[in-house]
C-alpha cells in the first residue's frame, strides 16, 4: 500500500505548529507583561509588582525552553518535510527567515542577561531596560515569521517563469499585502492571550486562597491590559477581514459559506451544512458581510462560485472562524464587565463568578489563537504558496514521515507534561506571600549587618 505522504506531512507540520504556537504566543506576550510589571514596581516603589515580574519571568523561562526547542523543530521541519517548497520559495523568503533568526538571537542574548542580573545593577531602571530588547526581539521575530506566512498567502516580489521564481525583490516579498493585517492580528492577539493567562492565574489564586494584595494587584493590572489588547485584537480582526475580502476572497467566502457572488451579502453566524450544501439553523444578519468586508452595506462580495472546485478551501473553516471570533468577543466582554464592576467601587469585581469566568478566559484565549491559525492555514488549502504551488507538490516523498508523526507526538506529550509538572512544582510550593516575607527578612538582615559593620563590630 502506498503511504499518503502528503497527508502525513500535513499532520506532522500541523502537530508541531499547534504545539509551538502555545509557547510562541507566551514567548511574545509575557516579556511585555513582565516589562510592564517591573516598570510599575519601580515607579510605585511597590515590591509586589517587582516580585510579580520575577515570578512571571521564572515561569516564562520554562515555557521559553519548550518554545525554543519546538521552534528549532519547526525551522528544521520546513526543509525536512517540505523540501520542494523550500527549494522553490527559498529564493524569495530567505530574507525574513534569516532576519527572524537575528531577532531571536538578539532576544536570547538579552533574556539571558536579564535573568541572571536581577541584583547586579544599582539603578533599577538599568535592569528594566534589559526588557526592552527582549520585548522588541520577540515582536520582531513574530513580525518576520508572520511575513513569511503572509507571502504564502499573498505571493509578491518576483516574476514567475517556467516554474521558477525569478527577478526576486526580497523586500517586496516581505512586505506583501497580507503582512500588515496579519502582523497586527498576531501581535494584538498574542498580547491579549498573555494578559488573559496571567489574569487567570491571579484569579485562580484569589479563588483558592483568598484575595491577597499581591494577587489583587496582578489581577487588576492584567485585566486592564486585557481590555486594551482584546479591543485591538477585534480591530485587527476587522482589518484582516477587509484584507481577505479584497485580496483572498475564497478564504472569507469559505468561512462565511458565501457561495454566490452578490451585493448586500448576509453574515452567517453559527449553523451547519446538510448533505446538499444547504445552510441549516444559522443566524443570517442581513447585509452585514458586505459591511464587514467593505464598510458598505451594499458592496459586492465575491462568492465561492468564482473559483474552480479544486481551488476552494474546505467548508469546515466556517466553524473555526465563528469560534475564533466568539472567543475574541468573549474576552473583550469579560474585561469590559470587570472594568464596569470596578467602577462601582464596591469591590464587585472580586465576586466568585467573575473570577471563575476570568480563570476560564486563560485557556479560552489559547483556544482562540489555535482556532485562528487553523482557520488561516486550512483556509489557504489547497495551496502551499497561493496560486503557485499546491501542497501535494511540496511535501516529502519519504514514507518514514508516518513513524515520525508518532515520534513527535510522543515528544510533545512528554514536553507538555514536564512543563506543566515543573510549573506546578515551581509555584505551588512557593507562594508569593512566603517569598515576600523572605525578601523582607533578607533586607532587614542586610540592614542590620550594615549597621553592625558601621558600629565596628565584627559580623558574625
Amino acid at each position: 500500500m502506498m503511504v499518503d505522504t502528503v497527508l502525513w506531512s500535513r499532520l506532522v507540520t500541523g502537530l508541531t505548529l499547534s504545539f509551538h504556537v502555545i509557547f510562541a504566543t507566551i514567548g511574545v506576550a509575557i516579556p511585555l507583561m513582565v516589562s510592564i510589571a517591573e516598570f510599575v514596581g519601580i515607579r510605585k516603589k511597590d515590591n509586589h509588582y517587582t516580585l510579580m515580574a520575577k515570578r512571571w519571568t521564572r515561569g516564562f523561562v520554562i515555557s521559553v525552553a519548550v518554545g525554543v526547542v519546538t521552534g528549532t523543530a519547526i525551522a528544521l521541519q520546513l526543509a525536512l518535510v517540505w523540501p520542494n517548497f523550500m527549494q522553490m520559495a527559498g529564493n524569495v523568503i530567505a530574507l525574513p527567515l534569516f532576519m527572524e533568526v537575528f531577532a531571536f538571537f538578539f532576544e536570547a542574548i538579552f533574556l539571558g542577561i536579564y535573568l541572571y542580573t536581577w541584583d547586579r545593577f544599582r539603578n533599577p531602571y538599568l535592569h528594566w531596560l534589559l526588557t526592552v530588547p527582549v520585548v522588541l526581539g520577540a515582536a520582531m521575530s513574530a513580525f518576520f515569521i508572520t511575513s513569511v506566512n503572509g507571502f504564502m498567502n499573498q505571493p509578491a516580489g518576483f516574476l514567475y517563469e517556467a516554474g521558477q521564481f525569478t527577478a526576486v525583490h526580497p523586500l517586496q516579498a516581505m512586505f506583501n499585502e497580507a503582512t500588515p493585517s496579519k502582523v497586527f492580528h498576531v501581535l494584538a492577539s498574542a498580547y491579549m492571550t498573555g494578559a488573559a493567562l496571567l489574569a487567570a492565574v491571579a484569579a485562580f489564586s484569589i479563588l483558592r486562597k483568598g484575595a491577597t494584595d499581591y494577587a489583587k494587584k496582578g489581577l487588576k493590572l492584567m485585566m486592564g491590559v486585557l481590555l486594551l489588547f482584546s479591543f485591538l485584537t477585534a480591530l485587527a480582526g476587522d482589518v484582516s477581514a477587509k484584507y481577505l475580502a479584497e485580496h483572498q476572497p475564497e478564504k472569507l467566502a469559505a468561512a462565511e459559506w458565501h457561495f454566490k457572488t452578490e451585493q448586500g451579502a448576509d453574515l452567517i453566524f453559527l449553523g451547519w451544512l446538510n448533505a446538499e450544501r444547504e445552510i441549516m439553523g444559522a443566524l443570517h444578519i442581513p447585509n452585514a458581510l458586505s459591511f464587514l468586508a467593505f464598510s458598505d452595506f451594499n458592496a459586492e462580495v465575491t462568492g465561492l462560485d468564482e473559483f474552480p472546485l479544486d481551488e476552494q478551501p474546505p467548508l469546515l473553516v466556517h466553524y473555526l472562524f465563528d469560534a475564533m471570533v466568539g472567543v475574541g468577543f468573549t474576552l473583550l466582554a469579560v474585561s469590559a464587565v470587570f472594568l464596569l464592576l470596578r467602577l462601582r467601587k464596591k469591590s464587585g469585581e472580586l465576586n466568585r463568578w467573575m473570577l471563575r469566568v476570568i480563570v476560564f478566559g486563560g485557556p479560552l484565549a489559547f483556544l482562540g489563537v489555535e482556532l485562528g491559525w487553523f482557520y488561516a492555514e486550512i483556509g489557504r488549502q489547497p495551496w502551499m504558496i497561493r496560486g503557485y504551488m499546491r501542497v501535494e507538490e511540496a511535501a516529502t516523498t519519504s514514507p518514514s514521515i508516518v513513524a515520525l508523526f508518532f515520534v513527535f507526538l510522543t515528544l510533545y506529550i512528554l514536553l507538555g507534561t514536564m512543563c506543566a509538572v515543573v510549573l506546578r512544582r515551581l509555584f505551588r510550593d512557593n507562594p508569593a506571600e512566603v517569598e515576600l516575607e523572605k525578601a523582607a527578612h533578607a533586607k532587614q538582615q542586610a540592614l542590620q549587618d550594615e549597621q553592625a559593620k558601621k558600629a565596628g563590630d565584627p559580623v558574625s
Binding site: A65, L76, L80, Q87, F98, F165
Partner: protein
C-alpha cells in the same frame, strides 16, 4: 570584489565554526557532568557548569538555527537534497536537541538530582554531535541517490562507511577535548583548584584520541573522495599550523599554566583544520549535486542576505561582548559571588 555566494558560504562556515566551539563546550559539559556524578566528583564541577552554561544555552542553540537557515537561504537547492535525505537523522537530532533544551529549563527546579535526567543530558551531549556530523559525511557524496527527482539516503552505505564512523569519532572526541579545555580555563578563572585539576586531566586525556581521530578521518577521506583530499593537501601549511597549535595547547595544559592562552590556541587549532577542510570542499556543497555557484540563490536575495548579515553583526557583536563581560570575564561572577 568577491561574489555574493562566496561571501555567503564563508559567512556560513564561520558560523558553523562558532557553533562547533560553543556547542562543544555545552555538549561536552553534559557528558562530564554525568561522568563526574558516576565517579563522585560532581560537587566539583556542577556549579561551574551551570554558572557558565545557563545564561548562554539559548545563544548556543541560535548559532545552529542560524547556520541552517542561512544555508537554505543562500543555497535553496540544499533544502531539496539535504531536506529529503536527512528527514530521519534530522528528526532524531531535533528530538535530542529538544530533550537537551528542556533540561536547562527544568534543571533549575530539582531535576538536577535526578540521575535519569542527568543521564539523558550526558547522552544527548554525545548523540547530538554524532547525528549532526552525519550531514558532513553526506556532503562528501556517495550516500545520496536521486531518481526522478526523488532523493533517497543509502543507509547501508552510510553505516558501513569507515569515513562516516571516523568523522563521528572525530566529532565526539573533539567535543570532549574542547569542552574540558574550556572548563579548565573557566575553573582557573574561578580559582577553583580541585575543579581545575579534574578538568585539566580530562583535557589532557581527550587530546590524544582527538588527534588520532583527525588523522584517521583524513586517511579515509583520501579513499572516499580523492578530489577533496588533494585539495586539502594543497593546504598542507594550514593543516601543519593546526598541528603546531595543538602541540602548544598540549604543552600549556601539561605545564598547567596560561589556560586562557591554551583555550585560544585550541580555537586556532580547530579554526585552521576546519577551514582547510572547508576550503578543500570547494566548489561543492553536496558532492556532486550542489555546487556553490550552481546552487546559490538569486543575486538580489544573496545581496540582501549579506546586507542583513552585516547589519545583524553590528547588533550582535556588542551584545555578545556584553554577555562575555557579564558572565565570562567578570571575576566576581565567575567565582560565584554574584
Amino acid at each position: 570584489m568577491m561574489s555574493y555566494e562566496i561571501v555567503g558560504i564563508s559567512v556560513l562556515w564561520i558560523f558553523l565554526y562558532g557553533y562547533l566551539i560553543v556547542a562543544s563546550i555545552d555538549f561536552g559539559a553534559g557528558f562530564f557532568a554525568f561522568y563526574a556524578r558516576l565517579t563522585g566528583n560532581d560537587h566539583l564541577i556542577n556549579r561551574l557548569i551551570s554558572r557558565y552554561l545557563s545564561p548562554v544555552w539559548e545563544i548556543t542553540n541560535v548559532f545552529f538555527v542560524f547556520f541552517f537557515v542561512g544555508l537554505i537561504g543562500f543555497f535553496p537547492d540544499a533544502a531539496h537534497y539535504y531536506g529529503s535525505a536527512l528527514l530521519v537523522p534530522g528528526s532524531i537530532a531535533i528530538i535530542l536537541l529538544a530533550i537537551r533544551g528542556s533540561f536547562y529549563a527544568f534543571e533549575n527546579y530539582g531535576s538536577k538530582k535526578n540521575i535519569v535526567f542527568l543521564f539523558l543530558y550526558g547522552a544527548t551531549g554525545l548523540l547530538i554531535p554524532a547525528s549532526l556530523s552525519v550531514a558532513l559525511v553526506l556532503s562528501e557524496g556517495g550516500f545520496i541517490t536521486e531518481n526522478n527527482g526523488i532523493v533517497t539516503l543509502d543507509y547501508l552505505a552510510l553505516f558501513t562507511s569507515p569515513l562516516a564512523w571516523s568523522i563521528v569519532g572525530l566529532a565526539l572526541t573533539s567535543v570532549l577535548f574542547i569542552s574540558a579545555s574550556f572548563l579548565a580555563f573557566y575553573a582557573s578563572r574561578a580559582d577553583d583548584k580541585p575543579a581545575l585539576e579534574l578538568m585539566r586531566g580530562y583535557a589532557l586525556f581527550w587530546s590524544t584520541p582527538t588527534i588520532i581521530a583527525a588523522f584517521t578521518s583524513v586517511l579515509y577521506l583520501s579513499q572516499h573522495n580523492e578530489r577533496h583530499f588533494q585539495n586539502m593537501m594543497d593546504l598542507w601549511w594550514l593543516l601543519g599550523l593546526s598541528v603546531v597549535f595543538f602541540l602548544i595547547v598540549l604543552w600549556l595544559l601539561f605545564k598547567g599554566r596560561a589556560y586562557g592562552w591554551a583555550f585560544i590556541g585550541l580555537m586556532l587549532q580547530f579554526l585552521c583544520a576546519f577551514f582547510a577542510y572547508g576550503i578543500g570542499h570547494y566548489p561543492y556543497i553536496l558532492d556532486p549535486y550542489i555546487t556553490i555557484q550552481g546552487g546559490a540563490t538569486q543575486e538580489a536575495m544573496g545581496i540582501a542576505l549579506v546586507v542583513v548579515f552585516v547589519a545583524g553583526l553590528l547588533l550582535l557583536i556588542p551584545s555578545l561582548a556584553l554577555v562575555f563581560r557579564l558572565f565570562l570575564f567578570d571575576a566576581d561572577y565567575v567565582k560565584g559571588k554574584k
